[in-house]
Amino acid sequence: MKSGSNLEKVLDAGNFAVTAEIGPPKSASAESIIKHAKEMKGFADAFNLTDNQTAMARMSSIASAVVLIREGLEPVIQMTCRDRNRLAMQSDILGASALGVRNVLCISGDHQTFGNQREAKNVYDLDSIQQLMVFKRMRDEGKVWSGEALEVAPPLFLGAAANPFADPFEFRVTRLAKKVKAGADFIQTQSIFDMERFERWMSMVRAKGLHERVHILAGVMPLKSHKVALYLKNKVSGMIVPDGVIERLKDAKDPKEEGIQICVEQIQRLRGIEGVHGVHIMAVQWEEKVPEIVRKAGIDNRRRDPNLKHN
Amino acid sequence: MTDETSIGVLICSWAGGKDGAFDLQALKDHAARSPLVTFVAIVDRICSSSGQSEAVELLKRHKVDRFVVAACSPGSKEPLYRRISSLAGLHPLGFESANLREQCAYVHDSPHAAEKAKVLIDMAIAKADLWVPPPYEDELPVTRRAAIIGDGLAAGIAAYELAMQGIDVDLIMRSEGFEWPADYLFENRVAQHRAEQTMMALAIHPRVNLVQAAEVVGFDGVPGSFGLMVERYGDILPIKCGAVVLAPHLEVKFKVLRGTQVGALLSSDLQDGKRVVILPGATGSGVGCNCVSARAVRFAQTVKERSRDSQVMLMGREMRALGSCESIYEEAQRQGIIFTRIEQVPVLEGESPCTLKVMDASLGELAVKADTVVMETSDAPQLPSLSRLFGVPMDQKGDFLTLETRLRSTETMQRGVFACRVRMGNMMAEDLMLEAKSAASFAAELLTKGTMEVGGAVAEVEPEKCSACLACVRICPYGAPVIGEAGKAQIVMQKCQGCGICVGLCPSKAIAMYGSSDAQLRAQASVALQGVR
């Protein structure tokens, strides 16, 4: 056991894990986090707290994580390479660890020009792979990157992102392998809509045996309308939304209902793919729907059967 | 006044037009008041022979080193003024003009015209004052030899034309032997006969040197004395010449897209493949929808003649049959060949038999069934490499881009390099021959004189100011600027055509221009605006 986190336990036990995303508020009040925590408690094994998502200043992911811990939920803090240099990253990890945070997702972060403060200077002292290397050394060797010893090493369960929908496609599995080599224990993927491409990617992952070295949680996102789908397709780089999905939402009587239904079907299909050890639900500004999705997808049973490997 | 300049002003008696829009005497007095001017004279019709003599006489007598001609538009008169200048012992370009007729007398009412005339004459004086003698050589020797590059009719005709004008020609061909390429289509049988005779005569013409199985691999030198490197059986052969004519061969083929092979179409009765559609080719390799050529009509006729019960259809956006081609077209219609005017590139569906989805100009969308689909294709394989080597750009059709705008259709941006365009007109042999003759006559114009004019209104780099930024090299349409051995730009005078684009562009203001220097343009504007502020 590397960190002893709930997520790690669930995954190591071979259960199908569920993580869900919570966007910290643009607010000095933790009210909305507490509200989401109460709604979603028991419907996921751990909850991601985004780090200045889409490059907009929000409540810090570590502070939000602490709020969540107080509510009895397990957090996964996300940490971008955009906003911190290696010193800040390491000190924040030590602090977060002291406050009880065990799961960290290492990511590059959206470029600052997407946000509401385009003029900001980015950092990118490290990239997300180097970030993993640094955290792994802290945990396994009890040292900061330069080699100086830590009194107490942080017990961490290290996560990384993977985007099977970005280019060059052939390189995407190589990049996953690098992340695994750098120290990733689990992977949360970009939202999957193009199931066919994801399956192609998974087969390449399996061919390299990576599915046995890292827990892959497949990302899903419920869509509220075909307009959202079109936006993701056309405006968000590294997203592929098939026309079939857009059509379904467009033709639906109740597009929101349809969006949930599509998401549920996706989860069910993903569950059948070898090497997928769980799902990561990104219900952006729609967190209240997570329990419904989990229930409908039939993965709400938090009691685990130890004989099933990632069912 | 610039040191040691002395300006004479010659006012033509007709400068104000026949009716005299202004008082020439007053104008003369005005000009004479300029401290820059040595003398002013009114010359009776300066372009007449007596006027010319008088002008020469005056210039000599007053020992001026430059002069201003205030007369009608200099447009066509400049050669005359050059002569006057030379005869007076001055630099042939040592004059400036004031266009008092077209830009003043003819366009303004008289009191205004008189005032304007003064301004124009002052402007010319100011410009003349700043005139700097340009490098100028009007008798630069030219290598009296032409190189013609290409196989086939155009190259042959160009070579023959030049040889007949007494010019030695190197005809540089890719092919091994010298054979009459059979695939030319003539409108006119007499022309065909003559062309055949020409090509035969060419092979034994004493002035024509055939360089066969050869590839041009290098090109350098300056207009009037080029050097070619020709590779032949692994050896490099240098060839010197004063002019180059590019005349690559255009290969025209009929390519089968569906069904029976071309050979079978033309040789025997069609068994299957009775419904034949002939399409025009597009630029590049795909199917096009442009002009149906006379050649395609001929091809259709041959198919029809071989197999009377076949259905032959020609498709294209335009049915263009120029000159006597009109008769071919009519003949083909009589034979029952169908012409379909299409608006868009047809879509082929299925194999033989296939369906062509076409947009008929009058009937709208049509589905035409065909057993055989043939496309006319043309390719000039040598053209792109010649384009690169000689710096003659290609147009969108893949043809040479020439200076057509100057009514000199086979002149190129490279002075001394002439090009026969291969995709002209109806692609009939006569069109090609016209191109070849045109190129040959331009080359002959340069070579028979034996000398060429160089310099004058050219651009020149001041090396100490040059940043070697390459802006001039990249912008010049004529390839005149190069980075010289000293690492600074220099302008090859023989190539410079005096447009001044580089002068206006140079970020270091390192390029000066004779005849239109910054100072001269500035002075003209200043005079024109005198007293306005």
Binding site: S108, F114, I129, F165, F171, S237 | S467, S508
Partner: protein, 234 residues
């Protein structure tokens, strides 16, 4: 070479407000080539300023000059005569040039007429693209000859982020993804294996993290004895 661009004309006017005797100083080096501060641009700016001054009663007296390289003391010292009586020099050189003018003429305000942007190359006539970040620790041998430090918007060293799509960067469809280019370059070179290696955190010390960088070539520096024998005045 160094790429820069002129500040907007209105900004130049605002910079010069309150000054009277102005020298617009250009440079024949990089900024001439990137069409920002060569003699022609100096002429355009100077003439524009004169026109602006005349129209707005500013009474500026605008002189113009262009030197070989504004970053070199010897060339800047040639301006001694031209700077006499001036109260502002509008430098159309890069930031290096403007600073060297200021250091040699401490009594005159040197105003930057350009925004110095980057180290790059002309891609075609009139198009200049950043190519090198001057990070002081070159990795081009690992990246197929394409610099990820400046050509990747996130300076990533271990491959493209999830925003790379169709060869374009997530920040704009006009920006090529450097890592996509690197991938294809290494593919052509048959060295995709290089992408499998983990590149550890970069040493930024030779970059800006070490304060102003200084490179000393001992064999080129004059020794104290040489200086004494040359009678060099420093």
């Amino acid at each position: 070479m160094i790429i820069g661009e002129q500040k907007p004309f209105k900004e130049l006017c605002a910079l010069l407000d309150g000054h009277k005797e102005i020298l617009v100083a250009g440079c024949r080096s990089c900024v001439a080539i990137c069409l920002a501060g060569g003699e022609k641009e100096v002429g355009v700016v100077a003439e524009s300023l004169r026109l602006y001054s005349d129209l707005n009663g500013k009474e500026w007296r605008v002189d113009e000059v262009t030197v070989e390289r504004q970053c070199e003391k010897e060339f800047v010292l040639d301006l001694i005569e031209r700077t006499k009586g001036k109260d502002a020099v509008l430098s159309l050189a890069c930031g290096v040039g403007a600073q060297s003018v200021q250091s040699l003429y401490p009594g005159i305000r040197v105003l930057p007429g350009l925004n110095t942007s980057n180290m790059g190359a002309p891609e075609e006539q009139g198009v200049f693209v950043e190519k090198c970040g001057g990070c002081g620790d070159c990795v081009l041998h690992l990246t197929g000859g394409i610099c990820p430090i400046v050509r990747c918007a996130k300076s990533l060293l271990n491959g493209p982020c999830g925003g790379s799509q169709n060869g374009k960067c997530e920040i704009s469809p006009d920006v090529p993804c450097a890592w996509d280019q690197i991938y294809h370059s290494l593919e052509r070179l048959g060295r995709l294996d290089l992408l499998e290696e983990l590149i550890p955190p970069k040493n930024w010390l030779p970059s800006r993290s070490g304060g102003p960088r200084k490179i000393v070539r001992p064999e080129a520096v004059l020794t104290p004895v040489e200086k004494e024998l040359r009678g060099a005045k420093e």
